[in-house]
Subunit: 211 residues, 2 copies
DNA sequence: CATTGGTTTAACAAAATTGTTAAACAATGA
DNA sequence: TCATTGTTTAACAATTTTGTTAAACCAATG
């Protein structure tokens, strides 16, 4: 919110509200988030939320779309870059984990909302080039298999493993910290070391059999 | 609900309500679940829910505890069994994936509720022997490392990978099906084939270096 | 310095959701 | 068959949450 009032629509206020909404929705999900929470987070009162965004649903849509971009955005560009497969995988894992460190609550948010409103995904998904990404990835694997440079393996298991290994630790973080007794500050450095671990696992999966 | 009314408290009705509550809470989470939804699912009306369980919170607690047992239950017994490490890992993965096939919505439910109410976990967790499980697992890995039968590797990464590879596909299922275009009926058989894939990955992680 | 126009708010209204109660009901046993 | 007792419900009350509005406010401009 701007302390100094303007005669033109206040982009800053709108943006500040949207960012507050993003924080609250992303942490709590649609159903548990209260308009009051968002107003407080933005430092204003509820009526103003409706002035800028007519309803809770409309605000949520904006937040969902932004988070969707974060979630899928990191994939896109990397696998197009012309580089050896192993480097592309290492780059992908690094970018993905960096994105997750910057947006740790996004995966649980996205997957929860999708599970609970599966129809939403259909429409939103079409705006995102996710399927293209999948196809590119799968077909580069198949090409390498033909050449015999990697092992015969279902590409779907490779992709599923890659995503699982990167994303799950962030979804399971609170449980993991409690169970392990690890101090929260240490989590980031664990994820940094995890970049190499994950990439190594995936490349090991692909390595031609030898014994 | 029982069609025939009794003069003694009706265990069946109570149980039927609890099962209905479990289905609804597990699919929608606490905040999005409506008492009305649960009543409808159980084939009765709302007042009866309060007759058996005073409040939404109390019903939820029962459901949460049951789901918590499912979530952690499969781990416990297996790693105690005296068998070679590789067999114990294969058994663990098989049991875990079987549990998930029977309760596909449980992980997202548990992790969502824990994220949004981290305090709850502290108290509930103490009733579950999860930490013990972790300790057993970690120390058996360390023992093998001492003996040189497995590679030097952070046990925490092994455990984290194991859980990620098993659990994440169920959390990401709706997204995954949409993105891949795979028909839902095929998901179960994918998970069956995944048992071997996951166990192989973990054992590969542990195999002494050789190249 | 008064008017103008966007901005902000407090107070209010409407809707959705949870929780309560008094009375009807159905099976059992006297 | 009638009274008893646990079961079930419809109607109601309370609370929580979302959405609306009229009026106050403030900066810019003439």
């Amino acid at each position: 919110m701007s302390k100094t009032q303007n005669t033109t629509p206040d982009r800053n206020t709108e943006e500040a509200i949207l960012q507050a909404a993003k924080r609250v929705f992303t942490r709590k999900g649609f159903a548990a988030a209260r308009m009051e929470d968002i107003a407080t987070e933005a430092g204003i009162n509820r009526a103003l939320l409706h002035y800028y965004f007519r309803s809770k649903e409309k605000m949520f849509e904006r937040v969902f779309e932004e988070n969707m971009s974060h979630f899928y955005g990191s994939f896109i560009s990397i696998l197009n870059a012309p580089a050896p497969l192993d480097m592309r995988i290492r780059n992908l894992v690094n970018a993905e984990i960096d994105m997750l460190l910057a947006n740790p609550d996004v995966p649980l948010f996205i997957l929860t909302e999708i599970s609970r409103n599966p129809d939403m995904i259909k429409s939103k998904m079409e705006k995102m080039p996710v399927r293209e990404f999948m196809m590119i990835f799968v077909s580069s694997l198949r090409t390498e298999m033909q050449k015999g440079t990697i092992r015969q393996i279902e590409p779907v298991h490779v992709l599923m493993s890659l995503m699982s290994l990167c994303i799950f630790p962030f979804i399971g973080k609170p449980m993991f910290l409690t169970v392990s007794g690890m101090p929260p500050e240490q989590f980031e450095s664990l994820m940094q070391s995890r970049k190499k671990v994950v990439a190594d696992i995936i490349l090991q999966m692909l390595k031609p059999e030898q014994a």
